[in-house]
């Protein structure tokens, strides 16, 4: 019995070990053009950047940006829905060629992947009910705070939050917002435009009122470190879209404001 258990354990371990042998990678831009298809990771639960439309298809700022890049590269776009916590893994393991998932930049992430030029503005903050007075991170002491695991809000808030606050990290944005609407957390940290969109959509009595902003953290396209050619192409496309007003059109459609001049 004992020996058999051990043998089985050994077998399982060696099976896991066999995953070491990963296939070698070709130059990605060439293979994308050749296949005529580009896989782009997008958020599925982060309106207005990415959510599911009435026709059950993904829609939003990030999806329109993905389509724009596909159009310019003259290839078909295959959208890959991802969550905040696993999106970088999707890119680094080659399950997606590009990451357009309202991704903010920080030094830790820059060690792992490359970032394009910024394509969208993003301000994140802390949101709660109207009757709550709260204007700085210190005010979170003793409160239950909901945040999406691995998001830029999570990383920034983790640095400044008082030790007595109870930071609850959820797997995806849907769960974070649902926990707030159900009253399981007192406040949430998310993007300001995200909160505005939820307020417009939700009929629940609990609104998301902005308490304070954490960080100005524009969104960038994530590209693998070993794809410099692809990065170059993406930067050219975004810069061109900024000049010819294409990106401004996407901003007006989803954020209801012209593209901020700081991004141009």
């Amino acid at each position: 019995m004992h020996r058999r258990t051990f043998t089985l354990g050994l077998l399982a371990a060696s099976l896991l070990g066999s995953l070491w042998a990963l296939p070698a990678k070709a130059e990605r831009l060439a293979s994308i053009k050749q296949a005529g298809i580009i896989k782009i990771a997008i958020p599925a639960d982060f309106p207005p950047f990415g959510s599911t439309g009435p026709d059950m298809k993904p829609q939003g700022y990030d999806i329109d940006t993905a389509e724009l890049i596909g159009r310019e590269l003259k290839v078909k776009v295959e959208l890959v829905p991802v969550s905040s916590a696993n999106r970088i893994a999707y890119l680094t393991t080659g399950k997606a060629d590009l990451l357009i998932s309202s991704l903010g930049k920080n030094p830790e992430r820059e060690k792992v992947i490359n970032f394009s030029v910024a394509y969208a503005p993003f301000f994140n903050g802390v949101f709660g009910t109207k009757d709550l007075t709260l204007d700085k991170p210190e005010g979170l002491a003793g409160k239950t705070v909901g945040v999406t695991r691995g998001s830029i809000e999570d990383l920034e808030l983790s640095k400044v939050i008082p030790a007595s606050a109870n930071l609850k990290r959820f797997e995806d944005n849907n769960a974070t917002i649902a926990a707030y609407l159900a009253g399981q957390v007192q406040v949430v940290a998310t993007g300001n435009v995200v909160a505005a969109t939820i307020n417009a959509q939700s009929k629940r009595p609990r609104r998301l009122e902005q308490k304070f902003l954490i960080k100005n953290s524009p969104c960038y396209v994530g590209v693998n470190k070993d794809d410099p050619q692809l990065l170059e192409q993406v930067n050219q496309i975004i810069n061109k879209a900024k000049k010819d007003g294409e990106l401004n059109r996407i901003s007006l459609k989803w954020l209801k404001t012209p593209l901020a001049s700081a991004l141009l």
Binding site: G9, D154, R169, Q184
Partner: protein, 222 residues
């Protein structure tokens, strides 16, 4: 292959993993004990058809054995507050595991009780044993001994299933893994180590329960 493996990036997060592991063990221990108690009470009600409890337990068993654990968890955590019933995240996870294991335990233990040969009970009656003595020594203990391997498997399944509790921010092992890989972006290394920890925990749990439980149930018998 251009990828450089870096298991040190995961080793640095050992305290986080240890805390998650401890939480998983704690959840499993509580679920195991409370689930076993529910199982015994429910099985007796079902096997001896004590009305109205046998019907209540039948409904409970069918409800929780035929719905996904994740849905049960979300219902407790996101659903009940709408009705004004507040359940803290940690209690919601624990409650879901207890209720889930309890439902399976009822059926497992019931099968053990129903397999008791009639002759054994008649023999005990002929020996003038009291009713509670018959229940404890002639029915329950041999029944538990019979189904103990099945019960052990179910506890291991529930332990592994506790991974989904990370979805409602319970800080157990999978939560720790997801948090670590969302910060160091070492998905392969992090989940490789985490899978290893689950494997070790499952093997250890199975051996402990089989040996410990068997010894406890056989104690004082020839």
């Amino acid at each position: 292959m251009s990828y450089q493996f870096d298991f040190l990036a995961v080793a640095r997060e050992a305290p986080e993993l240890a805390a998650g592991l401890a939480r998983t063990v704690e959840l499993t221990a509580v679920a195991c004990i409370a689930g076993l108690l529910i199982g015994i009470v429910g099985a007796v009600c079902r096997a001896w058809q004590l009305r109205p409890f046998n019907t209540l337990f039948a409904v409970y068993v069918e409800m929780f054995r035929n719905t996904p654990f994740l849905v049960q968890l979300f219902f407790l955590f996101f659903g009940l507050p709408t009705l004004g019933i507040d359940i803290a995240p940690d209690s919601a996870a624990m409650l879901a595991m207890v209720i889930n294991l309890g439902a399976y335990a009822v059926e497992i233990i019931r099968s053990g009780i129903e397999a008791t040969p009639k002759g054994q009970i008649e023999a005990a009656q002929a020996l003038a044993l009291k009713r509670w003595q018959i229940f404890l020594h002639v029915v329950l203990r041999p029944a538990l001994l019979r189904v103990w391997p099945a019960m052990t498997s179910q506890v291991v399944i529930v332990m592994l299933g506790s991974a989904v509790c990370a979805q409602i921010s319970t800080e157990e092992l999978s939560y720790a893994a997801s948090l670590i890989q969302s910060r160091n972006f070492r998905a392969f290394e992090t989940y490789f180590v985490t899978a290893g920890l689950y494997l070790a925990l499952a093997l250890l749990l199975r051996q402990t329960l089989l040996r410990g439980g068997g010894r406890l149930l056989k104690r004082g018998r020839p």
